[in-house]
């Protein structure tokens, strides 16, 4: 007769610190915020209003115009990252992983360094670089005879958001590069040798052998980019302020949330509508992650070596 398995206390003990810290710092505030979004002030009392804050956010043009504007801007911000940051990151990783490249460690470090810089530094430095008054951008364009192409990008409605997205790409391109680089290195040599035996080398090898093998890593990067972009706030706030000028053209969900929740200048903070926006952001991110997890990740073929 088999003995009853002893209770494995150590599992609970080892999990406890992470679970407790994560619960206290993330889960409790998350539910607190969701709860707050169901309340509002009537007179001086806090009353339960159900989903009316959300109805206002999506239905009242006063709120919905700003919300859709922020969501649209956020989508564009994400699209630029997907179209520029991730392909460049993959390309850089592919180049870095070629054995013939010399000083690979140097390039890897140099490209990764902006990622560890603070948003405040990045925002401030790029604002200076692009400044029409003191910046080096107009001068450098002048040197190659393209001064006519210079515009005060951060101050123009048409360009400001794209410029900021590209600055963010510059800052974070190191992350997809590192992850893909690691995935490329983990491809076993036998697979590549077998490919070479079959005459698949060079770029054909990348497209036909390596890319399919790193697709799961690309998927992870996409979802990290999605979550990061829809939670973004710092760079816009540092570069353009809480009003996300010019004319709200760089307003993303994060800045919209900040303005609403904490207030700005004479505008008093509205924690209830602010929580509703935070709730909507949570919903959007949750939806995106679910689509990825159930719609895409389960269909990705994985290879075990």
């Amino acid at each position: 007769m088999a003995r009853a398995r002893p209770v494995r206390w150590h599992i609970g003990v080892f999990l406890a610190p992470a679970v407790l810290v994560y619960t206290a710092l993330m889960i409790v505030p998350l539910f607190g915020t969701l709860k707050l979004s169901m309340f509002n002030e009537e007179g001086a009392a806090r009353v339960f209003v159900g989903l009316r804050n959300f109805a206002r956010l999506f239905g009242d043009p006063l709120w919905s115009d700003a919300f859709w504007n922020a969501l649209g801007n956020n989508a564009w911000f994400f699209l630029i990252h997907m179209l520029v940051q991730n392909p460049i990151g993959i390309a850089l990783a592919a180049v870095l992983s070629t054995p013939k490249l010399r000083m690979a460690a140097f390039y890897r470090t140099a490209i990764f360094i902006p990622t560890i810089l603070s948003f405040v530094i990045v925002g401030f430095v790029w604002k200076l670089i692009l400044s029409p008054i003191w910046g080096i951008a107009p001068g450098m364009l002048d040197l190659i005879g393209l001064k006519g192409l210079f515009a005060p990008w951060l101050g123009k409605e048409d360009y400001a958001l794209t410029s900021l997205a590209l600055i963010s790409v510059w800052q974070f391109v190191g992350i997809p590069m590192m992850l893909i680089y690691a995935a490329l290195l983990s491809i076993p040599d036998e697979v590549l040798e077998a490919a070479e035996m079959d005459g698949i080398t060079g770029s054909a090898q990348f497209w036909k052998i390596k890319l399919p093998l790193i697709l799961p890593a690309i998927g992870i990067i996409s979802i990290l980019t999605f979550v990061g972009n829809f939670n973004a706030f710092d760079l816009i706030y540092v570069a353009q302020g809480a009003l996300a000028g010019p004319d709200y053209s760089t307003d993303i969900l994060g800045t919209f949330l900040y303005r609403t929740f904490f207030g700005f200048q004479l505008q008093l903070g509205d924690p209830y509508m602010g929580s509703a926006i935070a709730g909507a952001m949570f919903g959007i991110i949750l939806l995106g992650v679910c689509i990825y997890l159930f719609g895409i990740q389960t269909r990705l073929r994985r290879y075990q070596f």
Partner: protein, 361 residues
């Protein structure tokens, strides 16, 4: 006493959070009007009406930190700031420009500076937006809407933001575009300050708080003139904005000590010290204060020749959503950039105000 400042743009958010969490200090600097009134209504600021030194302030001086009925005053007024234009006197002399008093002379002077080409006529950018509203619209506006007369009529609902006297300042702002530096759309507030103090720009739409900074930075002679009037001989109006006060945390454990300090803040002794240490922040104390700084003297002299008013959006009108002050920043910046016409901007602001403010419905 420990002074723990936060950045201006974060002050309200930080203060509100700290008060709500019970970690704010004993003494709290008060923004004017609703931001502080709300703190008083929430019970965060103590009623200071009983302080003896409150008698040293006129009712106008106290209005920014009182309940709407004037029954309770919750902050001791410290200073107001006056708007106008600071100019590079050396540049004006070199170009033979007289200080403009009317709008026509003002634009003629800017044209002359532009034609000469040595200086950027005016140092202002729209990147940070607030300068366009504060040093633009609310600087030149009082001359059009006749100061307090227009401001109070707007609050009562007798005038609308679409009335000519409220649209005209936007029309004037729209003309500023041609006189600002290259790439002003991305020019920030510190950029503008530096352009002026480095002697690259001739005129700076200013608030008097700039005086002490400019005195140490600028290597040339400066002068100041009030916002130009439409026709020679018109009464001039200036924005003499009650801007800063200091109050007491209602939950302060050191209330008695704080009150002693606040009594001193309300005394003529403090007023003299403060006004001279920070030229450009003008005491609201009824006792006249002697100031040594010539630029500060110039600014404060307009109190004698012009009618004083405060910024149009501050009292009552920025209580709702959309927030009129924020919208005014946005509209003023748009108008200067030329992306919105003065009429469209005014119509948008009026529409937003009418959404929640009953007298304007």
């Amino acid at each position: 006493m420990v002074f723990a400042p936060t950045a201006p743009a974060e002050y309200n958010a930080a203060l509100n959070s700290k008060l709500a969490a019970g970690s704010a200090g004993d003494l709290i600097t008060c923004r004017p009007f609703d931001a502080s009134l709300e703190l008083y209504n929430q019970g965060h600021l103590a009623d200071l009406s009983a302080l003896a030194s409150m008698a040293n302030f006129s009712s106008v001086a106290k209005s920014a930190w009182q309940t709407d009925d004037g029954a309770a005053t919750f902050c001791v007024p410290m200073a107001s700031v006056i708007h106008g234009f600071i100019y590079n006197a050396d540049a004006f002399e070199a170009l033979g420009i007289a200080v403009p008093t009317t709008e026509a002379e003002f634009f003629a002077a800017l044209d002359k500076i532009k034609a000469d080409g040595t200086y950027i006529p005016m140092a202002m950018g729209t990147n940070d937006q607030w300068e366009a509203a504060t040093m633009g619209y609310n600087n030149i506006g009082p001359n059009y809407w006749k100061g307090e007369e227009g401001r109070l009529a707007l609050i009562k609902g007798d005038q609308k933001l679409t009335d000519p006297q409220w649209v005209a300042p936007y029309a004037a702002l729209a003309r500023w575009k041609d006189y600002l530096g290259d790439g002003f759309e991305a020019q920030t507030y510190p950029d503008s300050q530096n352009l002026f103090t480095l002697g690259r720009a001739a005129v700076y739409p200013a608030g008097s708080w700039e005086i002490s900074g400019f005195n140490t930075q600028a290597g040339f002679k400066m002068g100041a003139f009030p916002p130009p009037v439409q026709a020679a001989g018109d009464t001039c109006y200036i924005s003499d904005h009650t801007d800063i006060a200091i109050g007491m945390n209602a939950k302060s454990p050191n209330a008695d000590a704080a009150k002693v300090f606040l009594e001193w803040v309300g005394s003529p002794e403090f007023a003299t010290l403060y006004a001279n240490a920070l030229p450009g922040f003008f005491s609201l104390n009824s006792t006249p204060v002697e100031m040594a700084d010539p630029l500060a003297q110039e600014f404060v002299s307009w109190r004698g020749t012009c009618q004083s008013t405060i910024r149009s959006t501050y009292q009552i009108l920025s209580r709702g959503t959309p927030n009129l002050e924020n919208e005014t920043w946005n509209a003023s910046a748009n108008v200067i950039k030329g992306t919105e016409t003065p009429e469209a901007a005014s119509a948008r602001l009026q529409e937003g105000l009418a959404l929640w403010y009953d007298p304007q419905k």
